[in-house]
Point group: C2
Chain length 357, copies 2
DNA sequence: CTGAAAGCGCTTACAG
DNA sequence: CTGAAAGCGCTTACAG
C-alpha cells in the first residue's frame, strides 16, 4: 500500500532545511557539498549527518543555473534502430560515468531534420552535443558555437560541415579490404551500399573500395544499394548472385547486410562460403563472430572513438581553438571464415591490426 | 576556421535581453513563450521576431526550477549490453518525443548497485524513473516516493518490491510455449536459463515452463544455466545435446541463447531443425526472423509495455493512488520454422495471437 | 572558517 | 493585456 502523498506537501529537502537543522548558514551547507571548499571538518561532518537524516540531495539543475554547466551531454541521432548507435551509447555511458556526466538522448521524428533535436538539446543547456547520424545544418552548428556548446560528429567524416568529427577511417579500411580480397585471388568484386543518405560513411567505404579495385587493374566493382538491414542485404545478395557476371567477393557497408548476403548465397544459391564466394562486412557486431556466420569484417574501435570525442567535449579550452578537427581512428580488420585466403596465410594469425593512423 | 569565442563572452541570450530589445517587461516575454498565457497578438509577434533575431532559446533548466517539472525521465539499467534495453530506449524515445519529454540515461558501474543510479537520477529532478534491470532496494523506492518521483519497473514482475511494474506475462507465455511443444508431440524438454540474477524474469519463464511440462505428465524439464548471450546458448546447447537423454525440445530464456543452441545443434551435432530438435526463444529480436534461423519465439510487445509505463509516469494523479500496480502485457507467440508442429497445423497461420490479457 | 547578499533565468500570483 | 516583485535552490565573491 502507498502512503498517500499530498501534492502540496511534495517539497524537496533543500540546503536551507539542512542549514537550519544543522545551525549553520545555507552557504556553508553548499560549500560542504562541494569538494574543494573550506569548511571545518566538524561542521562538514555535522552537515552530512543532518543531510542524511533529512534525505537531502543536491538539486543539480539549480546548481547548473549558476555554474552554467549541467554535466549533461546530448546524444542526437536520426536512427535509433541502428545497432551501432546502441554500442555508442553503451560506450559513452561507461566513459561519462567516470566523469560524473550524464547522457540526455534526443531523437529526430522520422520526417524531421536533425536540427530540431539539436535545438532541443540547446534548451537543456547541455555541456556538449554528440551527433550520431544526420547532417546538422551549418546554421545550427554556428548557433551551437555561438552558445559555446561544443559539437562532435561521431562515426563519420564531417564532410564540409563546420564541426569537429571523430570517426573510423572508412576510406582507408575499405581500401585495405579491397587489397586483401585482391591478394587472395578474387576477380569479380561487388559493393553493397546503404541507401540511406544520412549514413554518409557508406560513401567513403564505397569510394575506398572501388578506387582500389580499379587501381589494382580489375573491372569496376558492381555497386548495388539496399536498406542497411539483414533483409536489405539478403535482397542485394540475390540481385548480385543472379547476374551472369556473378561476383566472387562482396564487400558490404555493414555487418547486418553482409550477413544477409551470406544467407542469400547459402540458402538461395547453395553456395559454399568462402569457396564460392567471400563476404566482408563492417562494424564487427556480435553477430559477426557467431559460429554460423564467422564473418570477416572491419571492427570499429568504438571505445576509442567515443573516448576521443569525450575528451574533446570535456576540454575546457576546446572552444578557444581556431579550427575544426577531423580525427580518424584506425579500425581493425578481423579475418574470419567468410573470406578465402592465400594458402600461405591460412595458418597465420586471424586478426591483422593496424597500430597507428 | 573557428571564430574565437572569449570564455567570458559566452553569455546566453535570456528573456531579459529579448524584453529589453522588444520594449516589454521580462514577464511578458516569459508569457509569450508559454502556450496558454494572455499576451496581445501583436506583442507576441514582436517578441517572437526579436527572439529569433537574437537567437533566444528558453532555458528549460531554469524553468524547471520554478515549475518543479523537468520534462525529463530517467532510464536506469545495469545492463547496457542487452539488446532488449535498446529496443526499450528506442520505443521510449518515440513516445516521449510526442510529449515533449526527454530521456536521461543512467547506468550502473559493473560492481555497483542500481540504487546509486537512481540516487543520481533524483539529483536531476527527473519527473519519473524507469528501471530496466537491477532490483532497487525498498529504501530507495521509498525515497523516490517521498520525493514524489514515480518509479516504474519495466519488463519484469516487481516481485515484492514496493513499486509499480509493467511487464510481459512471462509465466503465462512460458506455459503456452510448453503446451505448444507438448501438443506437437515432443517428449523430452529442457530450459536454458539466464545465470544473471538481475534478470529475474528468466525465473518466471522457467517456472511457467517447468510446471506445465510436469502438469502435462512428462519428466521434469532439464534446466541448465548460461550467460544470456549467443555464446552462452551455444555452450548450453552442447551440454544438453551431449546428454544420453537428449531433449527434443529446448526453450531458452531469450533469443540470443536460442540462436546459440540452434547453431550448436547444427554445427556440432549435425542435427536438422526442427526434425531432430525444436528450439524456442523469447523476445523476437530481429535476428529471430532471419532466414538462417527462422526461430519460433515469444514476442514482447515493447511498444505496449513502454506506452503503458509512460502513461503511468505521466499521470498527474498517480502518486495519490493508494496501491502499487503490476500490469501484465500479453506477448505474442510467433511460430516459425524452428519448431515441429502437428501436421494439421502445418499449413495454418504462422502466427498465433492472444488478443487480451 | 563562516555568513549575508547577490544573482543564475525563469514562472507566477498580484495589482493595475 | 502588462509590469513589478517574489521566489525556485543553488554558487560565489566579499567581508568579517
Amino acid at each position: 500500500m502507498l502512503e498517500k502523498v499530498e501534492p502540496r506537501k511534495r517539497r524537496r529537502v533543500t540546503s536551507t532545511d539542512v542549514a537550519r537543522e544543522a545551525g549553520v548558514s545555507q552557504s556553508v551547507v553548499s560549500r560542504a557539498f562541494s569538494e574543494d571548499s573550506s569548511v571545518a571538518q566538524a561542521t562538514r561532518a555535522r552537515i552530512f549527518d543532518v543531510a542524511k537524516r533529512l534525505g537531502y540531495r543536491q538539486n543539480r539543475l539549480a546548481r547548473s543555473l549558476i555554474t552554467s554547466k549541467s554535466s549533461i551531454f546530448a546524444l542526437v541521432t536520426e536512427d535509433f534502430a541502428n545497432p551501432l548507435v546502441h554500442r555508442f551509447i553503451a560506450s559513452l555511458m561507461h566513459i561519462l560515468r567516470s566523469n560524473d556526466h550524464h547522457l540526455l538522448v534526443f531523437g529526430t521524428p522520422p520526417g524531421d531534420h536533425i536540427d530540431s533535436a539539436i535545438e532541443n538539446a540547446l534548451q537543456y543547456q547541455v555541456d556538449g552535443i554528440l551527433v550520431l547520424s544526420g547532417s546538422p545544418s551549418d546554421s545550427i552548428l554556428a548557433e551551437c558555437h555561438r552558445s559555446a556548446v561544443p559539437v562532435v560528429i561521431l562515426a563519420r567524416d564531417r564532410g564540409d560541415a563546420p564541426a569537429t568529427s571523430v570517426s573510423c577511417d572508412n576510406r582507408y579500411e575499405a581500401q585495405r579490404v579491397a587489397n586483401v580480397l585482391v591478394d587472395a585471388g578474387h576477380e569479380r568484386f561487388a559493393f553493397v551500399a546503404s541507401r540511406i543518405r544520412s549514413l554518409s560513411f557508406s560513401l567513403d567505404r564505397e569510394h575506398g573500395f572501388c578506387e582500389t579495385i580499379l587501381a589494382r587493374g580489375f573491372d569496376p566493382a558492381i555497386v548495388v544499394n539496399g536498406e542497411s538491414t539483414y533483409a536489405g542485404g539478403y535482397k542485394a545478395g540475390i540481385e548480385l548472385l543472379s547476374r551472369p557476371d556473378r561476383p566472387d567477393a562482396i564487400f558490404c557497408s555493414n555487418d547486418s547486410m553482409a550477413i544477409g548476403v551470406l544467407d542469400a548465397a547459402r540458402l538461395e544459391f547453395g553456395l559454399e562460403i568462402p569457396r564460392d564466394l567471400s563476404v566482408v562486412g563492417f562494424d564487427d557486431l556480435p553477430m559477426a563472430a557467431w559460429k554460423g556466420y564467422d564473418l570477416t569484417t572491419v571492427r570499429q574501435r568504438i571505445e576509442e572513438i567515443v573516448s576521443t570525442a569525450a575528451e574533446i567535449l570535456l576540454d575546457p579550452n576546446y572552444l578557444e581553438q581556431s579550427a575544426w578537427m577531423s580525427r580518424l581512428v584506425p579500425g581493425e580488420l578481423v579475418l574470419r571464415g567468410s573470406t578465402r585466403r592465400k594458402s600461405a596465410e591460412d595458418k597465420a594469425s586471424m586478426t591483422a591490426r593496424r597500430k597507428s593512423g
